[in-house]
Amino acid sequence: MIRRMAPVQPFDLSRHLSRDEERHGAHPDDAYLKAGRIPHIWCAGCGLGVVLNAFIHAMKEQALSPDQVSVVSGIGCSGRAAGYLNMDTYHTTHGRAVPFATGLSLARPDLRVTVFSGDGDLFAIGGNHLIHAARRNVDVKVICVNNFNYGMTGGQCAPTTPIEAKTSTTPYGNVEYPFNLVGLAAAAGAVYVARWTTFHIRFLVESMAQSLRKRGFTFIEVLAPCPTGYNRPNKLGLGLDTMKLYRENSEIRHGCEPQDAELDIRKRIVVGRFVDVDKPTFGEEYLNMVERKARAV
């Protein structure tokens, strides 16, 4: 075979040392963001920036340097969060952030390994991995941004889409029952379970800080507006209109049974810290039981 391949253009490092990098550092949170990566790709009114910002503040509150934390994400709009953070970040395949994070956390138990991903990624294609990671109690912190649809692919139905809601693949209304994410995570064995919205920013930062402090599998669901994908077909208005719904319909009920934590953004949204228990992690049990016995043989 005679091969005639397209030309390869050489890499130009100077293009990376651009105007953005010169301005980097002007904002107090820039130390947590990679130089030259902002502006982000998210739509106006999207809640993802709020969640990312809350995570940075939680790290600050816990006095964690970026070298003590690693973020793993899956695919989708929320999957892009990893690429903006100034730390070791891994943008994996669709649904596989949790098992990737499991391997990373077991190899480096000193790192705070956090999964930052969406409802479709974590509960549809990645659902099996999530429940098993919770069951094992691996030391992985999951932040699940729930916007009730697949945003990046253009607003399709997700396992969180409410009954009757319209999406680009449920034009006549959704007939599938949605998952209750906090109920599922708690039933699978998560040691910390909370739900907040992007309106509850201070509670969210507090919960993220608590989960970063905790050993084991933690789960935080954050409701976030998706004005482009979900709001438009469901006539929910702009991002600000969703924030108003969050304010009007949310009810803080710490300690509520996660299975009973109602979620209907037009009527009642139960938020709060639902589960906060302590039990040994997979890694700790492995060290204390398996390794000890194996060495004694």
Binding site: M5, A6, P7, V8, Q9, F11, L13, H16, K34, R37, P66, D67, Q68, S70, V72, A82, G83, N86, M87, D88, T89, Y90, H91, T92, T93, R96, P99, F100, A101, T102, G103, L104, S105, L106, A107, R108, D110, L111, N128, H129, H132, F282, Y286, V290, E291, K293, A294, R295, V297
Partner: protein
């Protein structure tokens, strides 16, 4: 074995191929194993679950093979040498994250003890039909390294080789074994630790401020900054530039994916290994690998005793394919005979490289058993001059 906490069990052992592969991994410095039970590869996982904890390593049984492969990549980025073992159905599930491993340039080793497919197929009986899947199984273009052991001793040795190649070229490396070699018990000699060559991870020595994570060195591979080492690297399965950041353009695609293909293609001479037997005067050559090469060797010896000028080329490396070896041989031999347990996979490669200069004869079978020496001998006698 109980009570032996050493990574390298120097001495003579009676092991099956699966167990020997596990010992090879430990000798190569493997400290992380994630897997899912599957016949006929389970003995690798069982051996690792018993041996790793005492050595300070970590064994985890994941919920499926997709998760196993993902955990391997995570552990490798955490600095561990990582391995999994599986068979056809699991290998199919791993393909997604094998592609991620290629794109993220993540060293790790995948052992595939081949059984007959498709689908669930023959769970406890031999096959060799995953050879092309190993080459092309995950979507997109990338270079592949796969080795094919023919004995428990080679399962030990080539597992070490696989780890070394995965660290040198920074990608998942496959051990394409088969049920017969995996379950066969033979003597395995494990040398002293200081006689085993183990290649380390290519570490970064630069200052983090001027580190470009995917800027390749002369051999088209870049050193690897793992998690928590202070380099703050972004690693993605998206097409990315040398900084590691996603760049969704044809220019970035050409530069990255061309390098992923070229790093194996251009280093092929340093990777490929074959075993040549009686080729000097041969006009017929049997090309075989894995368990079938054992029958082929016997058939070639029987044919020689009958005065037939036949030789054998045993493929130790399946990918990259030893194209130059076949091309050179095709200048002087008339026939290649390729016995394999499939409907022709390596035979296509042999035919491609032989061109019109020599004919290629496939001796195929669909699996469940391997070729007997007399079956190969019959074909040698039919086609030899």
């Amino acid at each position: 074995m109980a009570g032996n906490n050493r990574a390298v069990l120097t001495g003579e052992h009676f092991l099956n191929g699966d167990e020997a592969s596990a010992e090879g991994a430990l000798a190569a410095g493997c400290t992380f194993f994630a897997g899912y039970p599957i016949t006929p590869a389970t003995e690798v996982a069982e051996r690792m679950s018993r041996r790793l904890p005492a050595l300070g390593g970590m064994y985890i049984q994941m919920e499926d093979e997709i998760a196993s492969m993902a955990a391997l990549l995570g552990a490798s980025w955490g600095g561990a040498k990582a391995m999994t073992s599986t068979s056809g159905p699991g290998f199919s599930l791993m393909m997604e994250n094998i592609g991620l491993g290629m794109m993220m340039e993540t060293p790790c080793v995948v052992v595939n003890i081949m059984r007959a497919g498709p689908s669930t197929g023959l769970p406890t009986l031999v096959g060799q039909a995953d050879v092309m899947q190993a080459r092309w199984g995950s979507h997109g273009d990338y270079g592949v390294i796969a080795v094919s052991p023919a004995s428990p001793q080679e399962m030990f040795e080539l597992t070490i080789t696989a780890f070394n190649l995965s660290e040198r070229y920074r990608q998942p490396v496959f051990i394409l074994s088969d049920e017969i070699v995996g379950h066969m018990y033979e003597k395995v000699v494990i040398p002293p630790a200081d006689r085993i060559e183990v290649w380390p991870r290519r570490k970064v020595s630069r200052d983090p401020s001027c580190y470009v994570p995917f800027l390749a060195e002369e051999d088209l591979v870049s050193p690897m900054a793992c998690a928590g080492e202070g380099y703050r690297v972004h690693v993605t399965g998206l097409t990315h530039d040398e900084m590691g950041y996603p760049v969704i353009t044809d220019v970035a695609q050409e530069r990255l994916v061309r390098r992923l293909v070229d790093k194996i293609r251009k280093n092929a001479r340093n990777i490929i290994r074959v075993e040549s037997r009686l080729l000097e005067d041969a006009d017929t050559v049997v090309v075989a690998y894995g368990c079938v090469s054992r029958s082929a060797r016997e058939a070639v010896e029987q044919a020689r005793s009958k005065g037939i000028k036949v030789g054998m080329l045993r493929l130790i490396t399946l990918w990259p394919f030893p194209s130059e070896h076949i091309r050179c041989l095709s200048e002087k031999v008339r026939t290649f005979i390729v016995p394999e347990i499939n409907f022709g996979q390596m035979a296509y490669e042999v035919e491609r490289c032989a061109g019109n200069r020599a004919q290629t004869v496939l001796l195929g079978m669909m699996g469940g058993t391997m070729h007997r020496p007399d079956e190969i001998l019959d074909v040698i006698e039919e086609f030899a001059r």
